[in-house]
Symmetry: C2
């Protein structure tokens, strides 16, 4: 005898549209299906064609790069609202907020001037100040680890261009990024405190291409704000070799970014209202802004496409789940989770009604582990979610989820969160570079991620459990 899942699989010939049609025609079967079976059927359909790649193609082509606080980010917001409305979401709205410092990239030129003149590939860090108008030229002080820079005394590097070349480690969970993050975010301040005229770091990236990885940086309040940029990996290695030859190495650097002052960004929000508990909310996030160098296909166009595709499939079911599903496409994540913090502050009063929150912001997937951040990770509803995710290739994970990116501020406010952890082995080959473009996204990978999200989201909203409940059994 066929299981319900098997039956749906045979009927649907693999397309999301076909599944929806089929589900629409078989109310009897549906009524008889358990939520777990419906979640599994949605996932099976998504594996073949979730619609995510079509959404991502549209976003990255018709909008392109979407730097926070720009007209491009506003075009992305309009694009998202139109998409949600076409898909028949119950409510679609925007919540604008102010980004204190808009920022625009300018020229970025660097070269070795001696001993062997040659160009260097650099890109300004987000928020970097400009060099003086004609550029600056200075001798290099190179450190092979960030710790070596930190070990230098105050004012010991006066007038130097500090270069830090510590390589980033490739790791499935992205652990190499967290470890080195301060080298980018705090490095310019540390170098300035020691007297540096400018700061260059080896890109926080695992590729070997002449594309540099940008990313936000923060200046120290007690030190001058100096120009800061990332070198491509081959350029950082070239500098190491030249410095090792023993002659002084000099670099010329020209950066002309501009601080635009206060600009407007926005979160775009869409809802599928719950059929029994519209006040209880399962929140899915993703961020609509991207850096300006690529088209933000993996960061975080993929996340946007995954949550839009997953919720569009749920919207097309004959009946919505018991609880509300709210999708928030955050603005201005890259400059420092500005949209995520604005959302959490504005919605503080309702957060106690949130069932759970999740956000894909780690590329195209596949999802390989399900981490929770709840009071009791062993409750039956989470076991049921794990059971539906397991055949999609998802391991059970720990209970240390703090929510990805923009839902982090919700988790800090005690909203239960999960992380459908994506395989990040090659994520930092592309992250924050001009290479972050559509052609890097593979259907099989983004469909698997969407399958995991549609299954998780449907089940979480249908079961509507209270993940704040004290643990009935000892937590793992």
């Amino acid at each position: 005898m066929l299981t319900f899942c098997e039956w749906v699989r045979r009927q649907t010939s693999g397309t999301g549209a076909a599944l929806i049609l089929t589900l629409g025609c078989v109310n009897t079967a549906l009524a008889a299906a358990t939520p777990d079976q419906t979640a599994a059927a949605l996932a099976q359909s998504a594996l073949t064609n979730s619609g995510a790649l079509e959404i991502l193609t549209s976003l990255t082509t018709e909008v392109g790069p979407r730097l926070a606080g720009t007209a491009a980010e506003q075009r992305a917001a309009a694009w998202a609202r139109a998409r949600f409305e076409t898909a028949g979401f119950d409510k679609v709205w925007s919540e604008p907020f102010t980004l204190t410092n808009g920022w625009a990239r300018g020229l970025e030129q660097a070269s070795i001037t001696s001993p062997s003149p040659q160009p260097l590939v650099v890109t300004a860090l987000g928020g970097s100040v400009a060099t003086p108008p004609p550029g600056l030229e200075a001798e290099v002080a190179l450190f092979k680890t960030y710790a070596e820079l930190l070990a230098m005394p105050t004012n010991s590097l006066t007038g130097k261009i500090v270069v830090v070349t510590q390589p980033m480690v490739r790791a499935q969970d992205g652990g190499g990024y967290g470890t080195l993050n301060a080298m980018r975010t705090a490095g310019p301040g540390e170098a300035a405190r020691r007297g540096a005229a400018a700061y260059l770091l080896r890109s926080l990236g695992t590729d070997r291409h002449r594309v540099a990885h940008t990313g936000g940086t923060h200046y120290a309040p007690d030190a001058p704000r100096i120009p800061a940029a990332a070198l491509s990996v081959p350029d950082a290695e070239q500098l190491e070799r030249l410095v090792a030859l023993g002659k002084p190495v000099r670099i010329r650097l020209l950066l002309t970014p501009r601080d635009l002052g206060p600009v407007t960004s926005q979160n775009v929000i869409a809802e599928i209202q719950g059929r029994e508990h519209p006040e209880k909310i399962v929140l899915l996030g993703a961020h609509l802004d991207s850096w300006d160098l690529g088209t933000g296909a993996i960061d975080d166009g993929a996340g946007v496409a995954i949550v839009m595709a997953a919720t569009k499939m749920i919207r097309a079911l004959p009946a919505p789940p018991r609880c509300t599903i709210r999708v928030v496409l955050f603005g201005a994540e890259e400059p420092g989770v500005i949209g995520g913090n604005a959302y959490a502050a504005a919605h503080q009063a309702e957060l106690s009604h949130y069932v759970i929150a999740a956000e894909p912001d780690f590329g195209q997937g596949p999802v390989y582990r399900f981490q929770t951040g709840v009071t009791n990770p062993e409750v039956p509803s989470l076991q049921r979610i794990r059971a539906v995710l397991a055949p999609l290739g998802v391991l059970p994970g720990d209970n240390a989820s703090h929510g990805e990116s923009d839902v982090g501020p919700l988790a800090k406010r005690q909203v239960p969160a999960v992380t459908l952890a994506m395989d990040g082995t090659d994520y930092f080959d592309l992250h924050h570079t001009a290479d972050d473009t559509l052609d890097k996204v593979l259907p099989g990978r983004i469909n698997q991620s969407t399958a995991c999200y549609v299954a998780f989201t449907y089940l979480a909203a249908e079961l509507g459990d209270d993940y704040r409940q004290p643990a009935a059994v000892p937590a793992r």
Copy 2:
């Protein structure tokens, strides 16, 4: 009983230096060795450490990019002369020549201005003229194949920016490049003849990175000289998608390259004089100039390193081969084999004494096929060379070699030539891009190529056959 080769292998513990020492200490054994055994022993030693990677590291780091006719190319020439002198070559000299049109790259900026503003990655083709000073903006006329452009009537594209997006095919023998070469070299003239304001092509490359592939172009004498640049592959695909949406697509393009007028380049030449027939010459070429975007590690730093390393090993033998080995490091290959033509013209009178010529100009290898361009490819001396190359992983090839790159003009003048054909499967991932840097070269690959070159060169110079002799047996 040990063979001589086996004995040498056991003694040398794998380094070139150790081999040389060993060979120096065992004149009796050497005297007893056949040329084939010596060639095989040299190859075995090169497989482990040919010295090529050290040479390549020095060239790409201490000189860097080496655009034809620039001070950087002259620094490369001085570097090469010093290296040959240190290695004890019998004669080392330069032969300067004039490059009619020196060229310097300038700014290169492109962006889509509508319907969805976003930056494009482009790089000017070598020899391109500049755009007007503020840049130019025009509507795109996109052709998915070069043939579609050629099918357009004269003046049918007035004022348009012509974009041709035909993709290059990946092939081991580089066949995809030859087929599409006219799209870059003749495309600007064909577009201008049809009224275009500028010409953009999808890079002749097989990668998917936001680095564009430059390369020389030639203008048609009967059409205006219009600005010409290559798009990176993801940018070409983005334009295809946008054009397919049906709205007019407009591009803004700014290129500021400069024609420098006549400049000087040079061929650097070094010789190991033959012990019996110094007038008979085995010629090895490679080109010292590179494009300016990368450091020319694979094009043609690898070729330079392979021929320098191979001949340095032969120089260190107790006695030189019977015929002279001449290494020519050509200048100004990239703008159109200027150094190769200058050499052939200047040395016309002596060419009848040349035994054979070869040039590696297809990356780091490995060598996988031995092609000849001789009167009778079945002569015993070539069979002996094939027999020594076979265990290195080299197939026998056809007799259609016309000599690579700079030795092509010699082959046209009836100098016998061979091609030690390199595997080019990934060559066009890097060719003519900023990504052509040292980190892409693997010791095992460049050592195998050097092993093939040292074996071929030693045997060809020791055997000193006459490859112009009429065929005694029917040629294959």
